[in-house]
């Protein structure tokens, strides 16, 4: 996003600032995603009485993978090469548009809920096709399970955010964040609390955490995400891992800013953006800690129990929208 528009930015200082905000957001998600994963790992380890890996382990892993040899399975097509790139690219564009640090990213008018959700879906499709490309049993199984879970969690995500969109009367993300900044009383409204519950379930499902998927397992019968990337190695795996971490960071940041918009920069200026970065880090870390806590305290669900959890999330979201409509 930044590369193509850099020339225009010379002309218009306001646009330069927007491009800058988007670049900062992409950078934060790129670096912050793996750090959040590291933080969650650390918290889980501590809760289980272990020391755990350092928080920066994710970044070190990425660096290691990038230096490895690129190797792909014999029967694969161009899809295997493209899937990781699309995963990272779609997450990056979503991060550039979402109001994470400031409500003024590039194309703030076009930063719609629907667009961000479908950019995430685009990444999921790429990942699932990548899993099917080598034609192995595991890859296909992982893709099938991931798409099944995605097919139920994605509507919950859309309807969950819709509850806020109905309240703010716009589906524009910066618009929703601005409206919630202007109405502090909304934060404790019942539909927001229900929608938050729905979105936490969705974030757990979309990022493959316990109780939906166990990111640290390689047991054939239970793995979902790991099965899809079994054929990936080296730089391809680095991109996929980075993309997944970015999606986690993006989703946590999005949920944090939609429900707790404090600290998001609503005006230009370096200070406001610095505050925005700090606030985002604090809020996203808090949500990550919450998810780590859920992970420690629950066991992984059977695959066919997961849809019940997600359907519960979807129903919560629908109830949230209904309350929003009735209470208006």
């Amino acid at each position: 996003m930044t590369g193509g528009l850099a020339d225009l930015a010379v002309v218009d200082p306001a646009l330069a600032e927007r491009v800058g905000v988007s670049a900062v957001q992409v950078g934060i998600v790129l670096v912050g995603g793996p750090l959040l994963l590291g933080l969650m790992g650390k918290l889980r380890a501590r809760a289980e009485g272990r020391v755990g890996a350092p928080i920066t382990q994710g970044l070190a892993d990425l660096r290691k993978l990038l230096h490895k040899e690129a190797i792909r399975a014999e029967p694969t097509s161009a899809v295997s090469a493209m899937a990781p790139v699309v995963l990272v690219g779609s997450a990056a564009v979503a991060a550039a548009l979402t109001p994470l640090v400031s409500t003024r990213p590039v194309s703030a008018g076009g930063a719609d809920v629907f667009l961000v959700v479908y950019l995430l879906l685009m990444g999921s499709i790429a990942l699932a096709l990548g899993g099917l490309d080598a034609g192995t049993a595991f890859g296909g199984m992982g893709s099938s399970r991931a798409m099944t879970i995605g097919a139920i969690s994605e509507p919950a995500l859309l309807v969950g955010i819709l509850a806020l969109a109905v309240q703010a009367r716009t589906s524009n993300l910066p618009g929703i964040v601005k409206a919630s900044l202007a109405h502090p009383g909304w934060l404790a409204s019942p539909q927001r609390i229900l929608a938050l519950g729905a979105l936490v379930v969705v974030v757990i499902a979309e990022t493959g955490r316990i109780p939906v998927d166990n990111p640290s397992t390689h047991l054939e019968l239970t793995m979902i995400h790991e099965a899809m990337v079994l054929e990936q190695a080296g730089p391809d795996l680095a991109l996929t891992t980075a993309g997944e971490a970015m999606r986690l960071g993006l989703l946590l940041g999005l949920v944090a800013n939609l429900f707790f918009p404090w600290g998001v920069a609503d005006s230009g200026g370096g200070l406001a953006i610095a505050v925005g970065i700090f606030a985002l880090a604090v809020k996203a870390s808090a949500l990550a800690a919450l998810i780590a806590l859920i992970e420690v305290s629950t066991a992984k669900l059977r695959l066919f129990r997961v849809p019940e959890l997600l359907a519960g999330g979807f129903v919560l979201a629908i109830v949230a929208v209904t309350i929003g409509l009735v209470s208006r």
């Binding site: 996003m1 590369g3 193509g4 990038l66 230096h67 040899e69 690129a70 190797i71 792909r72 399975a73 014999e74 029967p75 097509s77 790139v85 699309v86 990272v88 690219g89 564009v93 008018g109 719609d112 629907f114 667009l115 479908y118 950019l119 879906l121 499709i125 699932a128 099917l132 490309d133 034609g135 192995t136 595991f138 296909g140 199984m141 893709s143 099938s144 798409m147 099944t148 995605g150 097919a151 139920i152 969690s153 994605e154 509507p155 859309l158 309807v159 819709l162 969109a165 109905v166 009367r169 589906s171 524009n172 079994l230 054929e231 391809d236 066919f304 849809p307 629908i318 209904t322 409509l325």
Partner: protein, 672 residues
């Protein structure tokens, strides 16, 4: 000018049908195809002029049909449907050049295809009850002939044709009854006269006409529970015919609902449109679910048509309901979104059907479980199918995304409507849109992943090759249209707004700002797909170069090919790949209540010990639950009544004379 171009188009198609029937085999294909392509271009020019200028044309000819004559007129609403059909028809005509070289292809298909196209162009331009019904019946007949064109002796095809013929004729009878009732009370059979006299009609009469015609139009559109012919007819029809059925014919069902409900009857009451929206919600969910569970590629596409028709009906219902609530701006927005989605669906679905036809042409199967690895063997078809599949999955930057966003926005803005019932209907619509989004993505990941990726599962798939250039060109036209409308959707919107204003009884103000993206005029909401596409491409290039130029030793620069990881085993065969059936299994288990799959597991034990199975066979069928629960009992009842009735005529002349006497008495009593 527009009238001339339109007439030239229809006549060229009729001439193409005659050429296709009489020319010798060598010249038949090219002659008919080129002439029908010319006809489609002319019709596109004629309808395009009506759409751009907003000036309708009207014609009357007393010569063609006895007693009533033929009334043809084209307003922006009808012109939009003519234009969509013409674009799809153009692509299908090119495609049919290569397709016709197939050993199965018949003279019937070559001759019927342009005739079918001509009737598809006539229906939206018919402006009197007689003309409309004549065109509608011709459309039903030509499509039925087209369906039977290739494999008329196969029992599945005959069965499909029977289902289609019965459903379409019950539908036509309902429409005829409704329109005749309307014409009789409105004092004329021309649409203009009916619309002028609609205020004199009582509301119960209007409601009766609407519900009766709705049943007919919904069966043509393929709305649940009247969809049963679709998943049977589409797989069995030759692919150009299925493409026209899904890309153009089902649209006309929606056209009929708008023409009768809004234009002729003036919008009517709220519950009409809630009924339409509830048909839409059911169809969207049911269709998307069956598409995700299907393993026959064309059956999958047919169910996906049911799903998309459902989304369109949700939009039509929302527009009608908002109009009844007096919100013309939001009604206009919802209808623009609906028509946009309808146009996009026509483009990508006909492209997908043509691609499925190319696969069938090359491998002689459409069962995903017998395909695999086609991406490396049919690369162009794979890319074109991929564009269609990503568009229908509403990936950002595709036309499907643009219209689904607009539909979402239309429903979301409409939720601010005054009446609580409308709000509930719109909320159900948004939920259906959200659920079908995920299910559609699953269905098409399955279609691409199992059909095109991995290793070939059969010899036929291993030997597949890309099809003739003319077939690829036909699909290419549609793919280009999809991408264009996806990146710069703004170019199509003024035209759609004009058609939408013509499709609402009270007209509609401008709901969108002009531009290359889409921006709502009255609320905060916009997308800028061109910018998103530029951003995505830039991000892909950056991410791709990060991988390529990562610092690593020179000997490791080039991607190496290695064996797949076989879990410790050496040999990895295509038998170990996931199949379409197993890909859909988890989803099918989650939604077992709706899909109701039939399982049949047979285990033969070894004679020595029953702990050692000798052979295991597993069969699974997913029949349409509605067909099984609703249609089968009705058919069984009709058959048993028929058996009962057969006992009455026992061959005795006395009994027949008694019947005649009784009937005569009855007539006399009634006439008294």
């Amino acid at each position: 000018m527009s009238a001339t171009a339109y007439l030239i188009g229809v006549s060229a198609l009729c001439a193409a049908a005659v050429l296709g029937a009489i020319l010798p085999a060598g010249q038949r294909l090219l002659g008919a195809a080129l002439l029908s392509a010319v006809g489609c271009l002319a019709a596109l020019a004629g309808s395009g002029e009506v759409l751009v200028s907003g000036h309708p044309f009207a014609m009357h000819s007393a010569e063609v049909l006895p007693l009533t004559g033929v009334d043809v007129s084209l307003d922006p609403l009808g012109a939009l449907f003519v234009a969509i059909t013409a674009i799809v028809g153009l692509a299908v005509s090119w495609y049919s050049i290569g397709y016709g070289a197939h050993p199965h292809a018949s003279r019937t298909t070559t001759a019927v295809l342009p005739a079918f196209l001509a009737t598809l162009l006539l229906v939206p331009a018919a402006s009197s009850v007689a003309t409309f019904m004549a065109a509608w019946e011709l459309m039903a007949l030509t499509s039925l002939l087209g369906l039977l064109g290739e494999h008329r002796r196969r029992p599945e095809t005959r069965d499909a044709a029977q289902w289609y013929a019965v459903m379409t004729h019950i539908g036509a009878a309902a429409i005829l009854f409704g329109l005749v009732l309307l014409g009789a009370h409105a004092g004329g059979q021309s649409f203009a006269a009916i619309a002028a006299h609609r205020r004199e009609l009582s509301m119960p009469l209007r409601s009766a006409v609407f519900v009766i015609t709705l049943a007919g139009f919904a069966s043509k559109a393929g709305a649940v529970p009247l969809h049963v012919w679709l998943p049977r007819a589409h797989p069995e029809a030759p692919s150009p015919v299925s493409a026209l059925m899904s890309g153009a014919m089902v649209n006309l069902g929606v056209y009929g609902i708008l023409r009768v409900g809004e234009v002729l009857l003036g919008g009517g009451e709220l519950w009409w449109w809630l009924l339409v929206a509830s048909l839409g919600v059911t169809s969207a969910f049911f269709g998307a679910l069956h598409a995700a569970a299907s393993t026959d590629l064309k059956r999958l596409l047919a169910y996906s048509t049911v799903d998309n028709v459902g989304l369109v009906l949700i939009g039509v219902g929302a527009a009608g309901a908002l109009q009844c609530d007096g919100d013309r701006l939001l009604a206009g927005l919802a209808l623009v979104a609906t028509l946009f989605h309808l146009a996009n669906h026509a483009l990508f679905k006909s492209g997908l059907f043509l691609a499925a036809g190319a696969i069938q042409h090359s491998t002689a199967t459409r069962d995903l479980d017998r395909l695999g690895g086609l991406a490396r063997r049919m690369p162009v078809t794979a890319v074109l199918f991929g564009i269609g599949a990503l568009s229908i999955s509403a990936v950002p930057g595709s036309n499907g995304f643009a219209s689904e966003w607009l539909l979402f926005e239309g429903l979301l803005q409409g939720i601010a409507s005054r009446s609580a019932v409308t709000q509930a209907a719109l909320l159900a619509g948004v939920a259906a849109l959200a659920i079908t989004g995920g299910l559609t993505a699953t269905a098409f990941v399955k279609a691409i992943g199992v059909g095109f990726l991995g290793q070939p599962r059969t010899q036929a798939a291993r030997e597949a090759k890309d099809v003739a250039p003319s077939m690829l060109a036909g699909m290419g036209i549609l793919a280009v249209a999809c991408v264009t409308l996806g990146v710069v959707p703004g170019v199509a919107l003024p035209v759609l707004e004009r058609a939408a204003a013509g499709g609402l009884a009270g007209g509609a103000p401008h709901a969108l700002r002009p531009g290359i993206g889409i921006e709502l005029a009255a609320a905060r909401g916009a997308i800028d797909p061109a910018l998103v596409v530029v951003g995505l491409l830039a991000a892909f290039i950056l991410a791709g170069s990060a991988v390529r130029f990562a610092p690593r030793p020179a000997q490791l620069r080039h991607p190496r090919r290695g064996e797949v990881w076989g879990c410790g085993r050496e040999l990895q065969t295509a038998r170990m790949e996931i199949t379409a059936t197993s890909f859909a299994e988890p989803l099918q288990r989650v939604f077992a209540d709706v899909l109701r799959p039939d399982h049949d597991l047979e285990v033969t034990h070894a004679s020595e010990s029953r702990y050692f199975p000798e052979a295991i066979s597993f069969h699974q069928r997913i029949d349409d639950a509605i067909e099984r629960l609703v249609y089968r009992p009705v058919i069984a009842a009709v058959v048993s009544w028929g058996r009962l009735a057969r006992r009455i005529p026992n061959g005795s002349v006395h009994r027949y004379l008694a019947f005649g006497f009784a009937a005569l008495l009855l007539v006399l009593v009634v006439l008294r």
